[in-house]
Symmetry: C2
Subunit: 422 residues, 2 copies
Amino acid sequence: MHNILVLGGGFGGVTAARHLERLLGARDDVTITLVSRENYFVLTPLLFEACSGTLELRHCAQPIRPALRRARFVEATVEEVDVERRVVRATAAGGAMHEFPYDDLVVALGGTTNMSLIPGSAHALTFKSMADALVLRNHLIERFERADAAADPTDRRRCLTVVVIGGGLVGVELLGELTAFADEVLRYYPRIPRDDVRFHLYEAGPRILPELDAKLADVAVRVLRKRGAELRSGTPVRAIEPGRVLLADGPIDAGTVVLAAGIVPNGAALGIPVDHDARGRIAVEATMRSRSHPNVWALGDCAAITGPDGRPYPQLAQFATREAKQLARNVVAAIDGRAPMPFHFRSLGTMASLGGTRAVAQLMGVRLTGFPAWWFRRTYYLFQMPRWDRRLRMILDWTIALFFRPDVTRVDVAPLGSAATV
Amino acid sequence: MHNILVLGGGFGGVTAARHLERLLGARDDVTITLVSRENYFVLTPLLFEACSGTLELRHCAQPIRPALRRARFVEATVEEVDVERRVVRATAAGGAMHEFPYDDLVVALGGTTNMSLIPGSAHALTFKSMADALVLRNHLIERFERADAAADPTDRRRCLTVVVIGGGLVGVELLGELTAFADEVLRYYPRIPRDDVRFHLYEAGPRILPELDAKLADVAVRVLRKRGAELRSGTPVRAIEPGRVLLADGPIDAGTVVLAAGIVPNGAALGIPVDHDARGRIAVEATMRSRSHPNVWALGDCAAITGPDGRPYPQLAQFATREAKQLARNVVAAIDGRAPMPFHFRSLGTMASLGGTRAVAQLMGVRLTGFPAWWFRRTYYLFQMPRWDRRLRMILDWTIALFFRPDVTRVDVAPLGSAATV
């Protein structure tokens, strides 16, 4: 019996497991096991809308179990990969330790916000998971409530200042969604003057949205500036302190600070004793096979996969999905004694949502802006959702959101106390 | 200027504020202020469905601000009521203290789960708020995941044992929803034998569902027993320990213990220095005016309002809503020098959902069971939602739920860490 073990339940891991199922059909000489920390997979590009409430939070996730057919799913957190014994140790909820032997290991553990670039990063919110989206939403609404009740104008302005650190896709899309959200809900806060609400975005690099061509990036900046946001490139943040951000030209008091300045491989991926590159990503051949351990494979944000031009592929969902399919084919080829093929994929395009039915996109050389770009982006992600029940719910959420304003309900986050960890 | 201050954002407080707005029209000699811990109001009878995921969690809540017209809303937690100076002190998020002077005070602070009946109650989950519904949902799904991964059959059975303490409406409706949910989602857990999943309900009193007539209670018990639940009346729980429940005839190991054994007034209501009854509820006349302080009024779960027969009115949403309307009329009458009227209302009926499209109901003398009762209950609560955007979302949630199975996505609850409390 040949055991394939997939670690990680994101775009990469789930697509790989599903594709392995398809390729292996009813073959009973191979087992597939997927181990992930969460029992659902998140369509991360939709988290922005989940944060503002356009989309229900749960609707940007898909439970993993119903999406699998023959693969076994186990909810557990990877603790250690023993590449000599070919065993992965993982803890399930409640602390029970499980061991998973493997013949082929697929590492798709993803990335996490880079907290080492800016001192004091722990004082900022991050934007990577469902919990992050929920916490940011609640946080922002709480700041509006606080500002509405505040007697002192300085306190109020501080509550209403939002700083986003990082001008890449995540930072800009987040800024777009938050500015649109604020414009919509401020009518419910009669005591908050619109001008007191301030949005800042700081990018250390030379320009905003390096992922897109310069003309589209300019359009994005114009749209966001019209909503009153201040975007500055070439402006590194020196440090983050509780409630403020330090720049070269002085500090900025802010009630909300979100860090979106790049990602690093997940801790569990960093700890796997195979070769890594300088940024901690698993060093793989173009076939996605580990350079040091041929029965370990890696893809997505935790792998350094270089294209024919020698440059690494971008860390985007679009690529993770394609990598996963090729990787599944390669693993099956290796089992059957055939040669694995190098990964090669040219991006179909890049899209950035700006919130409030606006987006910019470049699609196979064509530039789209405004509503058409926004509509295309939505529809594209809709079809990335594996099953129709979720797609239907997403369509309905969006339809209703066209006719009604977003709301300001906080789904309160209660710390999981002792009672829940019996 | 006459200030009316309403404390509490549940059925009672919000209905009172809305009705005061209506009665006072454009009169500019009276202000209305509503202070509540949360900026939304929850349709508590829908929390069961939110827990199983039939309804989105956020859809059983309505933001308070858009539901008010002229009243001022402040999100703050009541700390102290100074009945001499006629001032309420409350803290907003972030710790800022605010003072609200009042001429008439309406106390609608509601109730909280009674933790003093059973030793060790802190080890149980409760079911009263949105956070409770979310925590219980996540907890239950986590137990399924854990059981699916568990190697030891004893561990597995413990994970899969659910105990509900209390056989009143809340306990029975919760048991109904949870059994139906388990039946639906277990197909995704191929390694869990259905017989290992056990549901127990213990009621200290002589019978299950004392709120309904005995025939309907029997129907409810039959429906739940068919789903494999064990319901025992006359069975007080001696104590709750982490992971188990002690009964007279021995302990029961359980991965999930939910306490639904009655409510007591909220701490903030208990602390108001006016006359209270033996159970801590504010002692009021039949007009809902405090017996000791005529400019304090109270309603709902924190007030002891007795009917013409000398018995207190039940602590149900239906009553709180009617009390609020009468109370609003009485406050306006008192301001205008007219006599307030005693509250008098006969219940229109009582309904208990049993989950999985089943319910029991007695409506103006008529008994309904099964699907018709369930449909009627849903529709009734739909129209308790103040605004159409929410109603529409609820209708769509329910429609989709008819065609698809519930899912097992946990919207993960992350403790609000230091970053969020900048």
